[in-house]
């Protein structure tokens, strides 16, 4: 069972304890150090939604070798920090992407490739693809181009690493704060058929959230 949104937030409880004992400064230094380590080690789950899936293998293998920056591919969303959505998203795909994103553990980030997740790209008038991805899940870095070369993807990684290092507010924090906005949008296009319906009732979080 996944306990969903109201998971154990060890980080903030630690912060409270430290602030009580007058050690908020220590927490800030620790946070800075941890952010540096977070930026140096990014586990990626590459979700090949569109044509951009073909740019992933050269990015991670011998030619461009993202591992030298600490960016490594992992097999499951449970272990991942970053999800790469590489191209247009059909409604059917969006449903799976939302589920995958919600399985990832915080802090988590999203990078999208290509113009399709920004404004629909060349599929802007398709009956089956979405136009703006950031209505449904928060996006940290857009790598534009159709399709972006692996160099651009690596530049996107570097940008994300700098943001993590500086401790800037990331997409997952926005998602937690504006959960109603995102869930309403998801419900509008997916018609309420959002998996997993048996775990958490997203629309009745006030009533305990149990379906």
């Amino acid at each position: 069972m996944e306990s969903g949104f109201h998971g154990s937030d060890l980080d903030s409880s630690l912060k409270c304890k430290l602030e009580e004992s007058g050690m908020a400064n220590t927490h800030a230094i620790m946070e800075k150090a941890v952010n540096w380590f977070r930026s140096r080690s990014i586990f990626v789950v590459a979700y090949g939604t569109g044509c951009g899936a073909i740019e992933m293998p050269p990015t991670f293998t011998s030619r461009y070798d993202a591992e030298r920056m600490g960016v490594v591919g992992v097999a499951t969303p449970r272990q991942a920090d970053l999800i790469i959505l590489s191209g247009y998203l059909a409604y059917k795909t969006l449903r799976r992407v939302i589920r995958t994103y919600e399985q990832m553990q915080r802090p988590k980030y999203v990078i999208t490739l290509g113009s399709c997740p920004i404004n629909g790209g060349m599929y802007w008038d398709s009956y089956n693809t979405i136009k703006k991805l950031d209505d449904y899940i928060p996006v940290d870095v857009y790598v534009t181009g159709c399709m972006p070369r692996p160099e651009s993807v690596i530049e996107g990684f570097v940008l994300l690493q700098e943001r993590i290092k500086n401790g800037e507010k990331a997409g997952w924090q926005k998602y937690d704060e504006n959960l109603k906005f995102y869930k309403d949008n998801q419900k509008r296009v997916l018609g309420g058929h959002i998996d997993p319906s048996y775990e958490t009732d997203w629309y009745n979080l006030e009533n305990g959230g149990v379906a």
């Binding site: 060890l10 030298r68 097999a75």
Partner: protein, 297 residues
């Protein structure tokens, strides 16, 4: 003694992670890549420890990685690190090779319990494969160890090391036992051709599929501790132990790099192929070595 145990764990943690970073670098160079920094595993583990956790499957899921870490730490403190001095020989007097062999199986057991509670089908699949493979791995290793015990007339590791000082190294005296134990060791390190339990592209991360954040960090840490313990055990049994830190690093590195190179060259066996191979060739080699020990000394 407590101080020595803590120091030993810290040493094993650092050396194990640096070896793992080295492993990733060597792998990268073999594949024509630049590779990560040698400290990459530290970064990964600190990041994973700092992740938040929203996964909860009950107390057994939490306990599994802890049981594994317990097995690794107990194995570590029972292995004498240096041959001459008593330094870092933390709890060696409390146990012998039989206890050690028993403790080495504790990790997979804890893993199986936790993954079973998690209920992820890929995890369960990986655990079943891992336990099946373990049957094959243990047989040649145990026969090799029994051969050494008969040759040394003692199950005390310290005694086996001392015997090698006068009578020559076991790798020269009993090469067949060494070959059998090394083939098993490749499997214990999860290298190809015996890397079926956590095979990517097949069962995702196998037993680790459901573990995230802190659990994964704990698994990685215990993996590095356990790797160091196994390397030290091999050099104690066959290479006469190490009398200084440099000797320790040199000998463990030699064994580790050999294992990496074997792993890089070979493809992956299916689980029944792996057990089939391990039951035949290494077991036969180990039995020949055992016969040689019994009849020719």
């Amino acid at each position: 003694m407590i101080f020595q145990i803590i120091l030993l764990i810290m040493l094993a943690y650092v050396v194990g992670f640096i070896y793992f970073g080295l492993y990733r670098n060597i792998l990268a160079r073999i594949q024509g890549r630049y590779g990560p920094t040698i400290y990459q595993s530290f970064y990964d583990s600190i990041k994973l420890f700092s992740k938040k956790n929203t996964v909860n499957y009950g107390w057994m899921f939490y306990l599994g990685p802890i049981i594994m870490a317990t097995g690794a730490v107990l194995t570590l403190i029972l292995v004498p690190v240096f041959s001459d001095s008593d330094f870092l020989r933390s709890a060696t007097s409390q146990g012998n090779l039989f206890v050690l062999l028993y403790l080495m199986v504790l990790g997979p057991l804890g893993n199986a319990l936790a993954v079973g509670t998690g209920g992820n089908p890929f995890g369960v699949m990986g655990v079943v494969r891992g336990l099946t493979r373990l049957i094959g791995l243990e047989l040649p290793f145990y026969i090799a160890v029994v051969g050494l015990i008969i040759a040394a007339n003692s199950s005390d590791i310290v005694h086996i090391i001392d015997m090698q000082k006068t009578g020559g190294l076991n790798i020269i005296n009993h090469p067949l036992l060494f070959i059998a134990a090394m083939i098993s060791m490749v499997g214990f390190f999860g290298e190809s051709p015996f890397d079926i339990p956590g095979a990517p592209q097949e069962v995702y991360s196998g037993p680790r599929t459901e573990f995230s954040g802190k659990f994964l960090a704990l698994l990685m840490s215990q993996g590095s501790l356990f790797a160091f313990a196994k390397l030290v055990l091999i050099i104690d049994l066959f290479l006469g132990g190490a009398d200084s830190l440099w000797m320790l690093v040199l000998k463990t590195l030699a064994i580790f790099v050999t294992i990496i190179f074997i792993g890089v060259v070979y493809g992956r066996y299916k689980v029944e192929q792996a057990v089939d191979f391990l039951m035949k060739i290494p077991t036969l080699i180990a039995l020949l070595g055992l016969a040689r020990v019994i009849w020719f000394g």
